[in-house]
């Protein structure tokens, strides 16, 4: 069963003066439930663009997008917001934490927009539990400026998970981190995938990172490369 299915997704940026920049030229691919998928490609090949479309942060110019078998290509902005809030989580390369706000409050921030009735106490407990699991039990009241890069990224991951999404998107989550921290973060992803069955799609430049993925999708010039998916596990 594929959680995500893309059919011929295109994205063209329109610059001022009528100039058009085609970035994605028809991406067709799918992601199976419960897998860790890596997205690789040269810089400027359109990985981030694709991730933003996958994560409902941006609209595709054309093509179709199916999430859990449901056509989500044409949704209102509120419906898209609800999907962002309840079914997916997004981790950014530059963390994007709220400044001057404790780790715990950063993690709890998405709860403010939860539609379903929400028990604040239980939600807070869950946020604490997530931070504990990510090894930040003793850093809950620290502000982002008082945390290391790796710790900040773990706060961001906890924030992406606090609404119990089934899919986690991560755009170069380790791009700003050193190799030791990178390994820590990747281990974390694997564990989340194994323990909670979360589907993870992550963008990386790093061949090593692919070692943690079940499958790698290669992108070049806005197109998924022939034989788009290689079972990296076996290949390695």
């Amino acid at each position: 069963m594929n959680v995500i299915e893309l059919k011929n997704i295109t994205k063209t940026y329109h610059l001022g003066g009528g100039e058009e920049v085609p970035v994605l030229r028809g991406v067709t691919c799918s992601v199976e439930r419960g897998k860790v998928v890596a997205l690789m490609g040269a810089s400027g090949s359109g990985k981030s663009t694709l991730m933003n479309i996958l994560g409902f942060l941006d609209d595709p110019s054309g093509g179709e997008y199916f999430l859990d078998g449901q056509d989500v290509t044409h949704l209102t902005s509120s419906e898209r917001a609800d999907i962002r809030g309840s079914r997916i989580g997004f981790v950014f390369q530059n963390f994007n934490l709220l400044p001057r706000t404790s780790a715990l409050h950063n993690v709890m921030m998405p709860l403010e927009y939860r539609r379903s009735a929400c028990d604040r106490k239980a939600a807070k407990l869950y946020a604490c539990e997530l931070l504990e699991r990510l090894g930040l039990g003793d850093r809950m009241n620290h502000h982002p400026s008082q945390l290391s890069g790796g710790q900040q990224q773990r706060v961001a991951i906890a924030r992406a998970l606090v609404n119990r999404p089934s899919i986690l998107f991560a755009d170069e989550p380790t791009g700003n981190l050193d190799s030791v921290t990178t390994v820590e973060i990747l281990e974390m992803f694997r564990r989340l995938n194994r323990e909670d069955g979360i589907t993870i799609v992550l963008v990386t430049h790093d061949e090593e990172v692919c070692g943690y993925a079940d499958r790698t999708i290669h992108i070049r010039d806005g197109l998924v490369m022939d034989g788009g998916f290689s079972e990296s596990k076996g290949v390695q």
Binding site: G55, D58, S78, A81, D82, R84, F92, M109, P110
Partner: protein, 452 residues
């Protein structure tokens, strides 16, 4: 859009997270509101005080003066002529329906009032008939005003102002006591009820009132131009009658004074003070008096009046327009400070736009709808404006209280100022607090996140 507890909570957190920005924004609102309130309260207070003094002054009083005599083109001032008589006054009372009451006025000299071993020089020595009190809308709080009979016989009775009573008698009741006015013995028959300071800040209670006949016959140092001559004199009164300053005879005792009457040749008086039945009747009273006096003085049509009628309406309108000008000026100053405060609010809110746009992108990325963002920022602005508004009102009130107690300026709370300043700064706060949110909420989350 729906404002829930959650959005208030979120807004409070956001405000708390950036205390400096919150503080600066609120400062702008507080200063704007406080300035408007203080300015307008001071302006209002001044206007109110002037209005009070005007009504205190007896705004429907008319003064009739003999026409000023010109000597070689130099006016010697109203009242220097000698064309008015007490009969004119009686005729006015009798025949002018718009006049409620009128009294002759004879000018007094400076006098010293002595009681026991104390003496006092009141600022004003006034004279009139028994109608003086009605004309000036002044009541006697202790004792009695002098009567028509007292006026008829030039009785040596006087009514004294509160200040005079306090100075000379302290806690004693002055009624019935004997005092000396320039060595003439008078009986105090009453004390005027106190009045506030007048427009010039003069104490209105520092006066003494005696019958005009007494003033003319017994007190006037010279007897006055009014009493002795119907011909205009080239000399000022003091020059001609300076003899009275030289004591040729031993001072008269009380009974001699009582019995001594100056021969009355003419009933000339210095002025007539009349009060119209109402402030609106001033104009008709003026024309009635003018018509009557022209008739009595046998002035041919086309010839000039030999008298002059003055009322306070001109003074009043000048005062009123001055106050209005001042209030307007203060309002402009207040509005400028409101604008300055508003620009402050606007700046601080727009400056934080970049950070806030990213924050909005992030919030949308984790599931906030556009409407959530709008509500949150609206609530944030509302909280800012509400708190700033309350502080501003308190500060404005406090400031005007302080100013009024330090400078002694009157202030009067102005509901209009509160509403105006609250409305203006709230709308500025809301518009500029809301604007970045409105703009960012229309972006894709990713565009808001990448906003520079």
């Amino acid at each position: 859009m729906r404002i829930s507890f959650q959005s208030v909570y979120t807004a409070f957190n956001a405000l708390r997270r950036n205390l400096m920005r919150t503080f600066l924004t609120m400062l702008g609102i507080v200063i704007g509101i406080a300035a408007v309130i203080t300015m307008m309260e001071i302006g209002n207070g001044a206007a109110k005080q002037i209005a009070e003094k005007i009504s205190n002054m007896g705004s429907n009083i008319l003064m009739v003066f003999p026409y000023a005599i010109e000597k070689a083109g130099v006016s010697t001032g109203a009242g220097t002529g000698v064309t008015l008589t007490s009969e004119d006054c009686e005729a006015i009372i009798r025949e002018c329906p718009s006049v409620r009451s009128a009294t002759p006025v004879v000018r007094g000299t400076d006098i010293q009032i002595v009681y026991g071993n104390k003496n006092w020089s009141p600022q004003r020595v006034e004279s009139g008939s028994e109608m003086y009190f009605d004309v000036n809308e002044w009541t006697v709080s202790d004792g009695e005003p002098f009567s028509a009979r007292d006026v008829a016989v030039s009785a040596c009775v006087c009514v004294i102002g509160k200040t005079v009573a306090d100075e000379l008698f302290g806690d004693e009741s002055p009624v019935g006591s004997q005092v000396r006015l320039n060595n003439v013995i008078f009986t105090v028959c009453g004390v005027l009820s106190p009045k506030g300071a007048n427009l010039m800040g003069m104490d209105q209670n520092d006066n003494i009132v005696i019958p005009w006949t007494t003033m003319r016959n017994r007190l006037s140092r010279s007897g006055g131009t009014a009493s002795t001559s119907s011909v205009s004199t080239e000399y000022s009164r003091g020059d001609v009658y300076s003899l009275s300053e030289v004591e040729l005879y031993p001072a008269r005792d009380a009974s001699q004074t009582e019995n001594y009457l100056m021969p009355i040749r003419f009933n000339n008086i210095n002025a007539i003070s009349a009060s119209a039945v109402s402030a609106d009747a001033i104009e008709s009273a003026t024309s009635e008096i003018a018509e009557l006096l022209r008739l009595r003085h046998r002035i041919k049509s086309g010839a000039e009046d030999d008298f002059e009628i003055r009322d306070m309406s001109e003074l009043l309108s000048t005062l009123t327009s001055t106050t209005e000008l001042m209030t307007g000026l203060l309002l402009v100053v207040a509005l400028i400070s409101l604008v300055v405060g508003g620009v402050g609010i606007m700046n601080i809110m727009l400056v934080s736009v970049t950070e806030r746009t990213r924050e909005i992108g992030l919030r949308m990325a984790v599931g906030a709808r556009s409407s959530d963002i709008l509500v949150q920022f609206l609530v944030e602005s509302l909280i800012l404006c509400l708190l700033g508004g309350i502080f501003g009102i308190l500060c404005g009130r406090a400031a005007s209280e302080i100013i009024s107690s330090v400078n002694g300026w009157p202030v009067s709370p102005s509901f209009f100022a509160v509403v105006l300043s609250a409305l203006v700064s709230a709308s500025i706060g809301i518009v500029f607090g809301f604007y970045p949110a409105w703009r960012a909420s229309r972006l894709n989350p990713i565009d808001a996140l990448h906003y520079e």
